[in-house]
Symmetry: C2
Subunit: 190 residues, 2 copies
């Protein structure tokens, strides 16, 4: 029996199985409820009812609303932006910033970010930050391979990622293409 | 009777009156509950119980948890930072950024920002942004009066306010004095 068990360690949670269907339904329910501003406060029974699953299933798997939101945000922001390769640092940063602006400019995404920050603590904040740091490092590393001398990841985060998140989350100003390109220009010292 | 009424239009809500005491107790309860990460989800009955007032009083005055959080955040961030006058733009911006870093670096303040973003929608976001824009404009205007040519409010927000908020809210990196001074240097083109 132990041989059989070790040959299928994922039994019960294989892709397409019941476990994956529950996860998909619960994630979808969270995204719908968060996007609907008029809805009641997000609780596990409310999510379970919308997803058509037992509340105990949701409690057992995620524990709290904060952990559930962090899980949904992690899925949402993992691999959401492909690191571009346009042939120049400026081109890569402009393409990347434009994708991030589009992402954060979506009202449903913004609602998910705010809700996750509100209930998910440090774990939720990390989920909303996603893979920005790794993506920026990949862009800067590619420039170094071209023989260029790019800014540091910290400078790039401060000058590009931070204004995009701040404007999206804290203000009602648009993340316009001109403004986004201006951030790249300022970072590159134009 | 109408003369008497118009001579005391604030009757029932004068400073130090019952209304002010209720407001102070409810605000304090919200701040304590938000700071206590282990507590149950924030609801109006939970806040009312902690504040020692009737839930109906809280519902009547604030309506929803989101509006209540936005009100607490507005109080917290109104006039929280005095616009400095050190004699130079660099000095003023460094002093201002240092005050904001200290403010946002406080765990209880951060918990209030995240909770308010989570429940307060656009109104909550505006409350957390506080008077940053006006404060920055006052600093830049003072420099113009000195005959200087300061950056624009938008550039200053992107280069100074945004990284401080992003680092505080989305990362676990410290808002160190060296890093904060570096933001000012980069903005001023050193």
């Amino acid at each position: 029996m132990s041989t059989s068990a070790s040959s299928s360690p994922q039994a019960g949670s294989r892709p397409g199985g019941r476990s994956a269907r529950v996860r998909a339904a619960v994630h979808r329910a969270v995204q719908e409820l968060v996007a609907d501003e008029t809805s009641e406060p997000l609780t596990i029974p409310v999510v379970a009812a919308r997803a058509g699953v037992h509340a105990t299933t949701v409690y057992r798997r995620w524990g709290t609303v904060g952990e559930l939101l962090a899980d949904v945000a992690t899925s949402r922001f993992s691999g959401d932006i492909v690191v571009p390769d346009t042939g120049s640092l400026r081109g890569d940063l402009e393409r990347y910033a434009s994708s991030l602006a589009k992402d954060l400019g979506d009202p449903d995404t913004l609602a998910l970010v705010r809700a996750t920050l509100g209930s998910g603590g440090e774990q939720g904040a990390a989920a909303c930050r996603g893979e920005r740091r790794q993506q920026i490092e990949a862009i800067l590393e590619r420039e170094r391979c071209r023989g260029g001398e790019p800014p540091t990841p910290e400078q790039t985060t401060d000058a590009l990622i931070a204004p995009l998140y701040y404007r999206a989350v804290f203000t009602d100003e648009p993340l316009s293409p001109e403004w986004t390109r201006g951030l790249v220009s300022h970072l590159l010292g134009d």
